[in-house]
Amino acid sequence: MSTLALWRDKLAYQPVSLGIVAMLSGLALVVANTATLPGIAAAEQRDLQTSLEQVLPSGFASNDLVRDTILVSGGDGPPRTVYRARTAAGAICGTVFQVSGRGYAGDINILIGLDRDGRLLGARVIKHQETPGLGDKIESAKSRWIDDFAGKSLSSPPPAQWAVKKDGGVFDQFAGATITPRAVVKAVRQGLEFYAAHRAEILNDSPKESTR
């Protein structure tokens, strides 16, 4: 102990001791990283899968959605990843992709699922920062509001009514919080428009365009 005490105040002791601690920590982390990497990757995969399945009726897709994607550029912003659902026969029967809009407190990310004709199969908010108690009724866990989208398409209701009731549309707003639903409605509508514009590209099944 006494020799240690002597050593501890030496200049060289500082870098060496801190270095050793850092090295051991680094080692531990490297080992842990190697050990956990596959687990984490698998878990994240599962997460994605379940989200995707939420916006499609159960049993709708027979393929592994996560592996059947296509990058579609267009609209504004970076290319979007579009996941495609297939029937047991392998034909494309629907697509899932993410849209987003600016809500009250930040971006709202919504996953929407469409059938071949561009009719909404379902929508789920996957990330938002809206005020709990006001804007968070867009979460399916909090309210069934988001289910209203199922079955809607660009033509029904007509484009003019793709808005909240306050603005003359068909969608309910929440008392005291119009901004959030307005943003969601707008984002979903834009998603439908995006699909309409790129339908051919998305449904084009030539294998070279599919990634992964």
């Binding site: 001791s17 956990t36 599962r46």
Partner: protein
């Protein structure tokens, strides 16, 4: 330091939140519901126990000059380890606590205990200290979270099953059906307010106790950690 003293310190006398007033950021940020408070508290407890033990065992080798960096590296490593393992093997829990776990690194209470206790005490005592400090922390966070949740939404431990696992479903209670809710309670102002009122309550207890034991003495500076 005996067991009684350590446990009493952790749970009440030197309670991290109510007495030392440390670790305020997670306290304020996560206590929007009882469930969140509980989760954060338990995660912190785990880290506190491990870090206290680790630091207590290496304390002889650490020179004063690099003491703090070493402690912090150790704590950060621990936290990252916990973070990774949860992510890989308990993914559902991780999805809930993931954010909180990263926050533990900078919870100054962890370093505070390392400095104030673990760097001067044996491994076992340090582990106990970490445990009770953590439990005291958990209790405070849960209480604050419950108060905010009850007034804010009329529920207790809402979504406990979703967050902590189905086993915790029994905790969920809707106390006030048909209650419109009070938005402020989940916003920053109420965090401060509820803790302030709790601290006042604690002070009231102590004033009463002091008045009972020594009727004529002046008001003690009850909150030692109130800098």
């Amino acid at each position: 330091m005996n067991f009684r003293e350590i446990s009493r310190n952790g749970l009440w006398d030197q309670n991290i939140v109510l007495s030392q007033i440390l670790g305020m950021c997670p306290t304020m940020a996560v206590t929007t519901s009882g469930t969140n408070g509980l989760g954060m508290g338990l995660a912190t407890t785990a880290v506190l126990v491990c870090s206290n033990m680790l630091i207590s065992s290496v304390r002889a080798f650490v020179s004063p000059q690099v003491r703090i960096p070493v402690y912090i590296v150790l704590i950060a490593t621990l936290v990252t380890l916990v973070d990774m393992s949860l992510n890989a093997w308990m993914h559902d829990l991780y999805r809930v606590l993931g954010l909180f776990i990263a926050l533990i690194v900078v919870n100054c209470a962890v370093l505070g205990r390392a400095e104030a206790f673990a760097s001067r005490s044996g491994v076992l005592a340090s582990a106990l200290d970490g445990l009770f400090m953590g439990l005291g922390f958990t209790a405070s966070l849960t209480v604050i979270g419950l108060i905010r949740e009850l007034i804010g939404a009329g529920t207790l431990f809402a979504q406990a099953s979703l967050l902590l696992g189905p086993a915790f479903a029994f905790l969920e209670i809707k106390v006030l059906p048909n209650y419109g809710g009070m938005l402020m309670m989940i916003l920053p102002p109420a965090g401060f307010l509820v803790l302030g009122l709790l601290l006042a309550l604690r002070r009231l207890f102590e004033l009463r106790a002091a008045a009972r034991t020594t009727p004529a003495t002046a008001v003690p500076d009850a909150v030692a950690g109130c800098h």
